[in-house]
Symmetry: C2
C-alpha cells in the first residue's frame, strides 16, 4: 500500500510539473502574442522580452531534468535496470521535442531582416545605423542559403537550440574531468597497457575501418543517385572519428551497481574515457587536414603526415597543460580552509581547460588528463574535507551536465530543422559502427593476450564489444558543425546510433552480463590480490600486465613525480642523485621528511597501493635512512633478494591457492615467507 501511495505521489508531482511546463509555455506564448500586437517596440522592451523567453526556455530544460531525476529515483527505488537515467533523459527530451515541434505554433513575427551589403568581409562586430541610432550586433556565424528561410520560419525552435559550442565549453568539461577524476582505481593501473592499446590503437583502427566502409557506402549512394550533396573521404573519416568515441556512462553505472568484475570495469572505463580524448584529437586533425582554400578533398600522403603531426602535437600539448596546477596545492597550506582549497582546486582545473583552449589546443583532452593527474597527485595534498567536497562537486556537475546533454539529444531529434535521414547511409553506418567496434576489440584482444599473463577471456571481449555505447562526446562532436549536407547527414545518423546503443545496448547490459556468465557482486576490496576468473581458473589481478612497462612507470612516479608534486612519497633528497641536492631540498616539502614512514597513500583502497608494489617489486623499494642516503635494492624485512627472485616468488604464490583479504595480510604473509620458509 505504501508503494502505491508513493507512486501516486510521484504521479501527482509529475502531473503538476507538466501542468507547470504547459502553463509556462502558454504564458510565454501569450506574452509573445501580446508583444506582436504592439506597434512601437522599444529596444529595451525587446531585450527584456528576449530575456524572458530565454528564462522560459531554460526553465523547460530544468523541469525536464527535474522530471528525469524524479523518474530515476523511482527506478532506483524499484531496482528497475532496463532503462538508465541517460536513456530516460533522452525519452523525455524526445517528448518535449515533439510538443515543441508539432503542438506549439508561434505566429511568425518576421523578426529577421536580411540586409544585402557591400561589405567585403564579415566583421565580428557590426554597428547598424538605424535612422540615427546605432545598434550593435555580434557575429553568430555563417548560415547556408537553405537555412535562411528556416530562420524566419520558426523562432521557437531556434530559441531552444543551443550554441553547439556550449557543449564543448560548458557541458563536456565537467563530464570528462569527472571521468578522469574517478579513474583512480588500482585496477586501472594494472591494466594500463591494454587500456592504452584499446584507446589509442583501437580507436584509430575503428576510425579508419568505419571511414572506409562509409566511403564505400557513399560511393554506392552516389552510383544510385541517393546522394543530395558533396560527401568527401575526409567527411567519412570524420564520421569514423566521432562515432568511435564510446561513452562509459550507462554501462558503468550498471556495472557499479552490480559490482561486476573489477578488471572488466577497468578495461571498459579506461578505454571509453581515453578514447574520447583520442576521438576529439583525431576529428580535429581530420578537419585540419581538409585543405581549406581548394575543394580537392583528395587523399595526400603529405597532408596525412601533417594531420598526424597535429594529432601528436595537440595531444602532448594538452597533456602538458594538465600538469600546471600541482605546485600550487603542494606549497600552500590551505588544509585549514576547505572552502579556499575547494575553490582553488576548481579554478585550477578550469584554468587548465581555458589555457589549453587559449593556446589552440584541445581543452577537453587537457581536462581529462588534468582530472587523472589531480586524482593521482593533488588529491593527496587535499584535506579530507576537501577530498569529499571536490568529489561531490564534480559528481554533481557531471550528473547535471550529462543528463542535460542526453535530454537535449532527445529534444534535438525533433527541433533540429535540417535533418538528413538517408536509409542507405543509416544502415551502412550501423553496420560500420558494429564492424569498427569488432575490429577494435577482437584483434587487439588477441594480440594483447599474447603478451598478457592473464588473458582477456572471450566473454569479456564479447561484453566489451556489446558495451561500446555512443554518447555525449559523439553528440557534441557531431553537432559542432552542421553547415554542410554531409555534416547534417552525419548528425542525423549519429543521433540514431546514440539512441540505439543507449537504449538497446544500455538496457540489455544486465541480460548480456548474465548471458556471458560474468561474475557480479564482486567486492573489489576482497579480491585485491587473487581472484578467480569466470571460467573457474584462478587469475592474479596484480600480475595481468607484462612487468617492464609498469615497473618503469611506477618507479618513476613513486620516486620522482609523487615527491615533486605531493607531500607523499620518499623525500627527493633520497631519490635524486647527490648532484641535484640543492634542487631536491628546495622541492621537498617539510612534511615529506616528517612523514617518511607514511609512504602509503591515504586513499589506499582507491589507487595503486604502495604495499602492493612493495610486494610485487620488493627490489625497487627505496628505503632511506636518517641521513638521506640513497640505498636502493633493499626489500622490506631487510633481506636482500634480487629482482627476478622476488618476482618469481611472488608469481609462485598463485599455486598456494590462497584467497587472502586485503593488502596487509598478503604483506605479512610475504614477510613470513621471506623470513621463515627460506
Amino acid at each position: 500500500m505504501g508503494s502505491t501511495c508513493e507512486i501516486n505521489a510521484a504521479m501527482s508531482i509529475w502531473r503538476r510539473l507538466s501542468l507547470f511546463v504547459l502553463a509556462s509555455s502558454l504564458c510565454s506564448c501569450l506574452c509573445r502574442a501580446e508583444d506582436s500586437a504592439m506597434e512601437n517596440i522599444v529596444t529595451e522592451k525587446k531585450a527584456e522580452e528576449s530575456h524572458r523567453q530565454d528564462s522560459a526556455d531554460l526553465l523547460v530544460f530544468i523541469l525536464l531534468l527535474t522530471l528525469t531525476i524524479l523518474t530515476i529515483w523511482l527506478f532506483k527505488h524499484r531496482r528497475f535496470r532496463f532503462l538508465h537515467e541517460t536513456g530516460l533523459a533522452m525519452i523525455y527530451g524526445l517528448l518535449v521535442g515533439v510538443v515543441l515541434r508539432y503542438a506549439i505554433h508561434v505566429p511568425s513575427d518576421m523578426n529577421n531582416v536580411t540586409l544585402s551589403c557591400n561589405v567585403n568581409a564579415s566583421p565580428a562586430t557590426l554597428l547598424v545605423n538605424v535612422s540615427g541610432k546605432f545598434y550593435e550586433y555580434t557575429l553568430k556565424g555563417e548560415i547556408s542559403g537553405s537555412e535562411v528561410n528556416d530562420i524566419q520560419d520558426n523562432e521557437m525552435l531556434r530559441k531552444v537550440t543551443f550554441d553547439p559550442e556550449v557543449f564543448f565549453n560548458i557541458l563536456l568539461p565537467p563530464i570528462i574531468f569527472h571521468a578522469g577524476y574517478s579513474l583512480k582505481r588500482r585496477h586501472f593501473f594494472r591494466n594500463l597497457g591494454s587500456i592504452l592499446a584499446y584507446a589509442f590503437v583501437g580507436t584509430v583502427v575503428s576510425c579508419f575501418i568505419i571511414g572506409l566502409l562509409m566511403y564505400g557506402c557513399v560511393m554506392l549512394m552516389k552510383q544510385i543517385g541517393h546522394l543530395g550533396g558533396d560527401f568527401f573521404f575526409t567527411d567519412c573519416l570524420f564520421f569514423g572519428a566521432i562515432v568511435s568515441a564510446t561513452d562509459p556512462v550507462t554501462v558503468l553505472a550498471i556495472f557499479n551497481e552490480l559490482q561486476v568484475d573489477a578488471d572488466l570495469y577497468a578495461l571498459l572505463f579506461g578505454e571509453s574515457v581515453l578514447n574520447d580524448a583520442v576521438a576529439v584529437v583525431l576529428s580535429s586533425s581530420i578537419v585540419g587536414y581538409q585543405p581549406e582554400g581548394d575543394n580537392s578533398h583528395t587523399f595526400e600522403a603529405m597532408a596525412m603526415l601533417k594531420s598526424f603531426g597535429i594529432f601528436l602535437g595537440v595531444f602532448s600539448g594538452s597533456f602538458l597543460f594538465s600538469l600546471t596546477p600541482f605546485h600550487v596545492t603542494k606549497f600552500t597550506k590551505l588544509r585549514d580552509f576547505p572552502l579556499l582549497e575547494t575553490a582553488l582546486f576548481f579554478l585550477m582545473s578550469w584554468s587548465t581547460f581555458l589555457l589549453a583552449e587559449a593556446c589552440g589546443f584541445t581543452g577537453v583532452v587537457a581536462v581529462l588528463f588534468c582530472g587523472m593527474t589531480q586524482a593521482h597527485y593533488t588529491f593527496n595534498n587535499l584535506s579530507p574535507e576537501s577530498q569529499d567536497r571536490t568529489k561531490q562537486l564534480f559528481e554533481l556537475l557531471n550528473f547535471l551536465a550529462e543528463n542535460f546533454i542526453f535530454s537535449y539529444m532527445g529534444l534535438t531529434l525533433f527541433t533540429f530543422k535540417n535533418h538528413v535521414f538517408n536509409p542507405i547511409f543509416i544502415v551502412g553506418a550501423f553496420l560500420a559502427v558494429f564492424l569498427g567496434r569488432a575490429a577494435n576489440i577482437y584483434p587487439l584482444s588477441f594480440l594483447l593476450n599474447l603478451g598478457r599473463k592473464y588473458k582477456i577471456s572471450s566473454n569479456f571481449q564479447h561484453m566489451m564489444m556489446f558495451a561500446g555505447l555512443r554518447g555525449a562526446m559523439t553528440f557534441a562532436l557531431s553537432i559542432r558543425d552542421t553547415a554542410t549536407y554531409a555534416r547534417q547527414m552525419m548528425f542525423s545518423t549519429t543521433l540514431l546510433v546514440v539512441f540505439f546503443t543507449v537504449w538497446i545496448c544500455g538496457g540489455g547490459t544486465t541480460q548480456m552480463l548474465s548471458c556471458q556468465k560474468i561474475r557480479v557482486g564482486v567486492d573489489t576490496d576482497q579480491e585485491n590480490f587473487v581472484s578467480i576468473g569466470p571460467d573457474g581458473v584462478e587469475r592474479r589481478s596484480t600480475k595481468q600486465e607484462s612487468v617492464w612497462f609498469f615497473r618503469i612507470w611506477y618507479n618513476f612516479d613513486h620516486n620522482y613525480l609523487k615527491p615533486i608534486l605531493t607531500h607523499s612519497g620518499p623525500p627527493l633528497t633520497a631519490t635524486l642523485p647527490a648532484c641535484c641536492g640543492p634542487l631536491a631540498r628546495c622541492l621537498t616539502s617539510p612534511q615529506a621528511y616528517e612523514n617518511e614512514e607514511q609512504l602509503k597513500d591515504s586513499d589506499s583502497d582507491l589507487i595503486l597501493n604502495d604495499g602492493d608494489i612493495t610486494l610485487a617489486y620488493g627490489d625497487i623499494t627505496v628505503s632511506t635512512d636518517a641521513t638521506g642516503a640513497h640505498t636502493s635494492g633493499t626489500p622490506v624485512g631487510g633481506v636482500a633478494v634480487n629482482s627476478d627472485e622476488a618476482l618469481d616468488r611472488e608469481l609462485a604464490f598463485g599455486d598456494h591457492e590462497l584467497v587472502i583479504r586485503g593488502t596487509r595480510l598478503v604483506f605479512n604473509a610475504l614477510l613470513f615467507e621471506l623470513l621463515f620458509r627460506r
Copy 2:
C-alpha cells in the same frame, strides 16, 4: 624560519602566476598580430580566434581569483584582518585593469564596420548578405553615438567587459540564495520585527533621502553649469535606490570570525540581506515609473501610486514563486540518493529564479526568499549528507561569484570607457549616502526601542551605521544600464562609494568594534537563553520583540506550514479543523505520524528550536494523542497554565540572573519551576 619559507613559496607561486598571465596575454597578442597579417580570413577561423580570445580573457579572471584565494589564505594564516577578501579582490582587479588599460596596446584592426541601413526597426537577428554568403548577427543593444568611436578604439577593453546581465542572471543569484540559505539563525527570528523595519521602512526612507539630497546637488550643479547632460528627479531616486542596498559580506565575515554578539549579527545580516531585495524592486519600480514615450520626468501622484503598485506586486509575486519547490522534496523519498537529492534541490532553486524571470518578476528576490524558505522547510526533508552537500555547494558558488564580482569591480574602474567623474556629484553622493544611512538607523532604532523590551543600544546603532557597506548588489544595479549621461555618472560614483566603504569601513570593522566596546568571542550556543549586554545589563535574547507578532507567525508556521511542507511538526490531522479531514490526511506524510515525538527539528542549534517556543509559549503547544484528536492548550509537564501566566513566569526568569547553558537545561529548569515552586 618556517614562515619565511611559506612566504617565499607563496611569492614564488605569485611570480609564476603573474608570468603566466603575462605569457598568456602576450600569446594572445601575438596570435592577434599574426592574424591581422592574414588577408583571407575565413569565418570559421575568425570564430575560433574569437573563442580563443574569450578563453584567454576568462583565464585572466580565473588567475585573478586564484591569486586572490592564495592571498586570502596568507591573510587568514596570519590573522590579518585589515583587508577582507573582497577588498583584496578589488585591489587585484584594479591592478589588472591598469595593466589592460595602459600597458597593453593592441593595434586596432578595424574589425567593426558601420552600416547605414534603411531598416525601420532593429531586429533581434540580422542576416547580412556578404557577396552571396549569409552571416547571422544577434542584437547586443543600442549604443550611444559617443561610444561608436570608442568601440572601434580598443577591442581589448571591450573583450574583458562582460554583459551586465551576466551579473544579474549568473553571479548574483548564488550570492543572494546563499545569504537567504544561511539566514536561519534563531536570532534572526527573534529580531524579525526590527529587521523588517530596517529593511523595508529604512531602505525606502534612505532611498528618498538620498534621492532628494542628490536632486539638490544636481540642481546646484546645473546652476553653476557643471552638468553635461540630462539628470532627472527619477534618476536621483534611482541612485538613492541602488545605493541603499547594503552588503553583508565583508563586515559579517569579520563578525563571524570574532564571534560578535549574535543579536547585532542578526540585525545587520537580516537587514542587509532583505534590503538587497527591497533595493532591486524599488529601482525597477522607479524605472517603470519613468514615462517612456515623453521626456517629461515630472512628479505625478498617479504614476507614483502605479510605481508603488508595481513594487508590491513584484515583491509578493516573487515571494510566491519561492514557495514552489517544497512539495517535491516532501513526497519523494530521495534520502537514499544524496546525489539526486542535491541535484533536485539545486534545480528547484534555479527554476524558482527562472520562473520568476520568465513571468516578469524579479528573480533575485524570488531566489532570496527561496533560500530562506528552503532553509526553514526543505532543509528538514533532506538527508544529513545532502544538507552538508547543499551547504557546501552554495558556499562555494557564493565564494566564487562574490570574489569574481569584486575583482571585476576593480577592473572596471579602468576598463570602462565612459566614466563621468564629477567632483560635486561625488562629494554630494558621499554626504547623501552617509545621511541616508543615518536617517535609516537612528530614527528607526528610536522608534523600535519604544516597542522593544530589550533596547538596541546606542553602540549597536553606531556599529550598524558604520557597517553599511555597499557591494555586489549596488554594483550590479548600477552597471545594468550605462547608456545615458546620468547613468554613467551614477555608475562612476557608485564604484567610488563601494571602494570607499569596502576598504575603509570594512577594514576598520575590528577597530570600530573595540572602539564601541562591543563584546566579541561570544559563543552563540552558550547564550541561547540569557545574555548579558555590553552595557552590563542583562538582556534576554528570546524576548526582544513584542510577543504578538511573533506568536501568530510561529503558531501558523508550526501548526500548518511545517506539516504541509516538511515531515516535521504535528500531523495536519491534529491541527486542522475536523471539516478539513480528508485534505489533512492527504497532505500529511506517513513520517509525520511515525515521528510524532520527533517534534524537535534536527538542526536545533541553527533554526528556531521548538523547545524554546514550548518554553516561551507553553500554552500554544499542540500535543496529540494516538487517535489524532486536537488537544490544544496543554503545556509540557501536564500542568495547565494559561497563556499570560506562562509568559509572566517566563519573563520573571530574568530576575534569577541564571546563565544556563543550552536549551535543555533551561527546559528542565522550567519544568522544575512549574512542578515544585508553585
